[in-house]
Symmetry: C2
Subunit: 587 residues, 2 copies
Amino acid sequence: MFSYQPPVKHMQYVLSDVLSATDTLRVDAGYNEIDEQLVRQVLEEAGRFTAEVLFPVNASGDRQGCRFESGAVFTPDGFRDAYRQFVDSGWAALACDPGYGGQGLPHVLNCALQEMMISANHAWTMYPGVLHGAYTCLKAHGSEELKQYYLPKIVSGEWLVTMALTEPQAGSDVGLLRTRAVEGDTGTYRLSGNKIFISGGEHDLTENIVHLVLARIPGGPEGSKGVSLFVVPKICPDGSRNQVTCTGIEHKMGIRGSATCSLEFAGATGWLVGEPHRGLAAMFVMMNAARMLVGAQGLGIAETVYQNAARYANERLQMKAVDRPAERKDQPADPIALHPPVRRLLLSQRAYVEGGRMMLYWSGLMLDLAERHPIPQRRQDFEQMLALVTPVVKAFLTEKGFQGASDALQVYGGYGVITETGVEQYLRDCRVTMIYEGTNEIQAIDLVVRKILGDQGVRLGRFLELVRATVQAERTGPFAGHSECLSKLATELAAIARAVCESGTANLTPLHWVAGDVLRLMGHCIIGWLLLRSASASCNNREDDYAFHDERLETVDHYFAYEFTETHAALAVLRASFAQHGLSLTW
Amino acid sequence: MFSYQPPVKHMQYVLSDVLSATDTLRVDAGYNEIDEQLVRQVLEEAGRFTAEVLFPVNASGDRQGCRFESGAVFTPDGFRDAYRQFVDSGWAALACDPGYGGQGLPHVLNCALQEMMISANHAWTMYPGVLHGAYTCLKAHGSEELKQYYLPKIVSGEWLVTMALTEPQAGSDVGLLRTRAVEGDTGTYRLSGNKIFISGGEHDLTENIVHLVLARIPGGPEGSKGVSLFVVPKICPDGSRNQVTCTGIEHKMGIRGSATCSLEFAGATGWLVGEPHRGLAAMFVMMNAARMLVGAQGLGIAETVYQNAARYANERLQMKAVDRPAERKDQPADPIALHPPVRRLLLSQRAYVEGGRMMLYWSGLMLDLAERHPIPQRRQDFEQMLALVTPVVKAFLTEKGFQGASDALQVYGGYGVITETGVEQYLRDCRVTMIYEGTNEIQAIDLVVRKILGDQGVRLGRFLELVRATVQAERTGPFAGHSECLSKLATELAAIARAVCESGTANLTPLHWVAGDVLRLMGHCIIGWLLLRSASASCNNREDDYAFHDERLETVDHYFAYEFTETHAALAVLRASFAQHGLSLTW
């Protein structure tokens, strides 16, 4: 039976053994009340909620889907009840300011919660998916009045939020949007236009839905510089129904329990958030938080499919293994987990689950430090580093999540494509994560052009210093080989940054061609670095739990032999492509 | 609108310019009546049938699926009518012996037909999918009586066929099957047992269904050496209904219009095919033909999604391209096909469509030569070479088909996951091709252990001689760089073959770990070799049609810069894995 077991033990390992998160949070982010005990308690409670409340309505939600009926959307059976429990237990408020009713817990714990929610039920998690991003955006850019009115309801989860950007002709290119906002006489605006692909644009989970809408105020500049952000509630503060209607929902490959809506704004009342024409900047606050959480989605998917594939592979008996354990010599067949190609599929999945979790939580910790480190310069440093890493978290983890789902399905063989088995839903559900919140191609260009070329490689250099410190620490001893692999990659990335800066803003074409490969190299550099730290931690702590730590060491060995090797292909592409464009790459 | 345009022009190019197929068929396979005119006629007719009859019921068949009702299966609307046209036009009989009513056309043309059928409608094509394999198997192993009774009906398509191997506990490991066949007194057998995952196990397309069933005759050896093959018709020759019942159909990720049935044999009457206990050998005749056609499925999927993604990318306007054509300077946005990351997704798809077609048709041609070359030794050589290449065709082309579907979906962005767009169905449909007819992992082990180690690398060596001849011919001139890449890979593959033989049958474990990488290297060697030949052909024939041939040359340049580079990662894995297992790899 397909199931979900919250990986609390590995989460604690990453937080404590690999990242020393509680110490960092206490010392550098002023979370005085945080300790191992509290972390475990939050993880265990979140695990219970996701496994016992969200997961049981995951497969049924996919089968049933959403129902659209004359403007109303009905979510699958059980979604409402699960949402009520989510609100009642205070999960919505986890990382929000206690001033607005939040629990004020660190972002890194919210990352773990989001991962578990997706592991249990991707479609359901879409509804509160932009809740935290909308909170951040309104908190940073909304007027005091808007904040007082909306934030407590959003923080508690009493009202849900949408992010309404996309129009049929304006997807990745927000600047092409046409929705108009005409100023009225009471300081409000009238919004008219059509939005599509709005997750949770209409549903039966909350009484009110708060739409954050991008629109143009007539007379403003063309393109993305003339875009403003508005709050458009489904129910206006005076209790009247606003002029925003759901005109339909999409039939989709996956996340079928999530209502993907078309919305018609027919003179709907909206309130401006921030400055006119500066909507994109305000929205980007939301997008960046959202991008990290999309990375969490890739990880959450990868975790669930891996644990199920691993269990199945240990139960399913087919053919004799090439290296049969002596005690199985009389059996007609062995567990398929003993066959090297299946074992390899499983270990590769595990490498990205473990390394991906380290990457995500490391980023979450940086978000906490960027907000709360006592030294302003350090806050800025963490913010810069996080900005460098965010596109990698989003794109690399979603790519590996999809790959993991496909690999897990392969482990199941013919049973994998049968709906009842459970894994094919995860493959269908996760495919969109490589597209939404900025396609993975856009993430790659963001990384290379804005984050590397943008500061002439300075923050990349600072990241590589972190890597080199670990390389140096492990250059002798049991992980010398891995350390050398990583050292070479750091050297190569530094050379790539030089070539990127040499090409410069006047010659972006060659950078756009290889951006995806640079992102993949960065992904491996981050994961390789953190897995190496994990190897060292497990080596030191082996006596606590031999079985657990030996599994971690096996993961790292497998990763460097079978997955880190992807860097060779990416590098060969970079060399060939740069050569075609007359750029050299040397180190 | 999602559509399918049969790529007749490129098919003719592959057959004529790259493979000189008509000459070869005439001179070496005794097809005296074959000429360019006949080939074009067959391709155009097949194109019309697939695009005008099969494609229009593809999306509707997915939406509707099959219906199971008290033992009966109803295919989606339009499937019956399409099947009648298939039979009436004689497509079923294309490559079968005129002695049994076939058209006696070459296998290579059947490959093109199969590719087009899948391109248009994967689910529908599952019904006649094993028709040709069953024909081959019965023709080779059936008694004269069985052949006279069944072959004409199968060749014409009047009756459809199934391949009934899988049981719940016996998937990849056929030796674990339990279905029993007890000999009766009339020379027939009574079969009892349960089979699952039987494509077309029941349907409303034909009056009779001929099941080829693997079962055990009591008293025979255990495992796969005690498995016999039987013909079990749904309707017996005396007109009575046989004791085989469909007990249900599966809900699946894709190919939903194809009925995947559970069958119960309750003392069903069966006729032995070939020798008792030699069923697997007989079935393998069928499996090998089937494997090549599964490769055709990967290609067929890749073609349809590529042509749609390319059209969409040329129509969809989003953002300004880094290199804007002068004539577009005043436009607010450019076609996304002009953005390098999208262009790269498209060109990579095209590389595998073009190279994959060459690989498939080259294999099809070898099948013709293996059957009909006038010199027995040469027939055997072609058969050996085909046996080497078959697992690569199956696994490499299905892997690239799935990748192509995912890449095409990415080009569509958010629209990609919407069912109405069309591409997501192809992604769902094709995933199973990496599993059925022997998982891609099993193909890889077949390649390394049976096909390379099995003859101590002799036929691999013979294949590499073909590659080296092309390398040599192109070592100077415009493709010297590509030639050098390929030359290195040939050297590396020869070294790998030596390491494989050195490891030997006593030490298979390291070979099982890296079999997938060896297969990927072989895939690139075959495709790289044929694309290089295509570059040379296009260079020579450029004057015939500049636009067409320049596109081919662009494909080859792209392939070697962005895709052939996968070989670097595969090689790095081989090195690391061999080192872990104490094997060396040097050249």
